[in-house]
């Protein structure tokens, strides 16, 4: 625990590599988790082949939501948009490398939810993502 918290999560939380905004961008979307007030925005740039070239997040929240956003941004750069659509809760959990209870899961998945909801252009995919 000390391990994961300090070394991975706390590190990404305190020193995120992909925090910021892009202007102009090809994609921007934001959402929040009313439970804890976490708020995340994601900005992307893509090339002509719909390959992600740049990805950053902004907002505030707990270490898990911020760290997983940072890790997610890192992982999607260089990937086609289509591939991102297929990402699941498992994708994020693998990035974090830890097990999470249902409440923290919502924190961890907020950035993926923002990303997918933005890409699909639909309001509510949370449940599909979060189904336990």
């Amino acid at each position: 625990m000390d391990d994961f918290y300090r070394e991975l999560i706390v590190e990404h939380y305190k020193n995120p590599a992909y925090k910021g905004t892009l202007d102009p961008n090809d994609f921007t979307y934001e959402d929040e988790n009313p439970l804890c007030g976490d708020h995340i925005r994601v900005d992307l740039r893509v090339d002509d082949n719909n390959m992600i070239t740049e990805a950053v997040f902004s907002g505030h929240g707990c270490a898990i939501s911020q760290a997983s956003a940072d890790l997610l941004m890192e992982s999607i750069i260089g990937k086609p948009l289509e591939e991102v659509k297929n990402m699941t809760k498992e994708t994020v959990l693998e990035l974090l490398g830890i097990e999470l209870g249902p409440v923290r899961l919502k924190c961890a998945l907020l950035s993926l939810k923002v990303l997918k909801a933005g890409l699909y252009g639909i309001g509510n995919i949370e449940e599909e993502l979060l189904e336990i």
Partner: protein
């Protein structure tokens, strides 16, 4: 496959009990409530001793365990009745609350003065009174599928009633008085053909035979844990997701909300939208274990066993003087037999039987209109479940002969 009833009896601690010194319990009242196997009882004890916490919002270990256990129970129930998703499984206190929930949310929102609801003459009060209350509030019309002499629903009146464009048909899958198993699938098809939704009271069916709500195409289906070897204090409303989604919330409070401001709130997703306040957590966990227990025996085997015991009982009861079974010739029937003993009031029957450790019910069994229709103020009722055997029936017969003798 035959159930090993001797083995099963040992799963239920209460069946070892002597009602009075030297008098073993013969429990023939499972239609009122079932007994509980150790696996169910102990799961709740263990929950309180190891995992107890409030759910859904907690980050600490206990809260996560409790939440996972509670939601796992929902999954087990969804699978048990073949629901498409856990979103269709709402936890309530009992079948009664489930019916009221539909009446007070779906009914209040979608029904208007003059709308017709079809019920039947064999309903339990729990599937009558909620609709009477709604009918009074909204000026609805109630009409009833009649019960014929044989003790079955008269499907010709049903067809005629469906022509009147009813908004809902609500009926019991199995009568808690006559044991009649109604042709739910056929009745649902007919209702849907007429553009009508159907609520099924499954309080007596889910415990006793395999129910597939998706195959039945039921719109709402309700039942209680305590009648299916589970704990008191918890029941289920199954509803098709599309219908539940359109319904307004029932009770307001913690857990059923996404967001609250002083003057407004946003309801939570299904099924939580209908679960206000701290739910019956330990009970859900015990309920899940009850499902495990029933599944491990197999609902087909349970149904077969009950059929055999019931046939045996119907035969044996013919040899009890002055005894008249209430509708003995029902074709499709579950393990419930109501009867009269000429010259002896059902209360006295029950009390004398109790002296011999035999537990039966006496009264109107929460179905006054059915009793009234047949001109009976009360009957005695023996009902059978997976832990009853032929010997229990024999003891009932002997007990009834004693009653006869005493009042002869």
């Amino acid at each position: 496959m035959n159930l090993d009833i001797n083995k099963i009896k040992t799963d239920f601690p209460i069946l070892n009990r002597e009602v009075r010194p030297g008098t073993r319990l013969v429990y023939l009242d499972s239609t009122a409530t079932a007994q509980k196997p150790s696996i169910v009882i102990d799961s709740m004890k263990q929950y309180y001793e190891l995992n107890n916490a409030n759910i859904h919002r907690g980050i600490h270990q206990l809260a996560e365990e409790a939440t996972a256990m509670y939601e796992l129970a929902r999954q087990k129930i969804a699978r048990f009745i073949h629901a498409r998703s856990t979103k269709e499984i709402v936890f309530t206190r009992n079948a009664t609350e489930s019916i009221n929930l539909v009446a007070q949310t779906w009914g209040r929102k979608f029904l208007q003065a003059g709308d017709l609801i079809i019920l039947t003459e064999m309903e339990h009060h729990s599937n009558l009174v909620p609709w009477q209350m709604l009918a009074e509030e909204k000026n609805l019309v109630l009409d009833f599928i009649s019960v014929n002499e044989k003790g079955e629903l008269d499907l010709t009146t049903y067809d005629r009633l469906l022509e009147k464009n009813p908004k809902l048909v609500a009926f019991t899958h199995m009568s808690n008085v006559l044991g009649t198993i109604n042709p739910a699938k056929e009745m649902i098809q007919k209702a849907h053909g007429a553009g009508t939704l159907v609520l099924i009271d499954g309080a007596q069916s889910v415990p006793h035979f395999s129910v597939d709500v998706t195959d039945l195409d039921a719109d709402f289906y309700v039942f209680s844990a305590h009648k299916m070897v589970g704990p008191t204090g918890i029941g289920v409303l199954y509803g098709k997701e599309k219908l539940l989604a359109e319904m307004p919330p029932f009770l307001g409070g913690g857990d059923m909300i996404k967001k609250v401001q002083l003057r407004s709130f946003k309801a939570n997703d299904l099924p939580h939208k209908f679960e206000a306040g701290t739910p019956a957590i330990a009970e859900a966990i015990g309920f899940g274990k009850a499902i495990d227990y029933l599944s491990s025996l197999g609902m087909e085997n349970i149904a077969d066993h009950e059929k055999k015991i019931t046939q045996y009982a119907l035969q044996k009861l013919q040899y009890v003087d002055n005894l008249k079974v209430f509708c003995p010739n029902v074709t499709e029937r579950g393990g419930v037999i109501s009867f009269e003993l000429d010259f002896v009031h059902p209360h006295d029957v029950a009390q004398v039987l109790d002296h011999y450790g035999i537990a039966v019910r006496a009264g109107h069994h929460c179905a006054m209109p059915l009793h009234e229709k047949f001109g009976l103020p009360a009957t005695s009722r023996a009902s059978f479940y997976l832990y009853n055997d032929y010997e229990d029936v024999d003891l009932l017969v002997i007990g009834l002969q004693q009653v006869n003798e005493m009042f002869a």
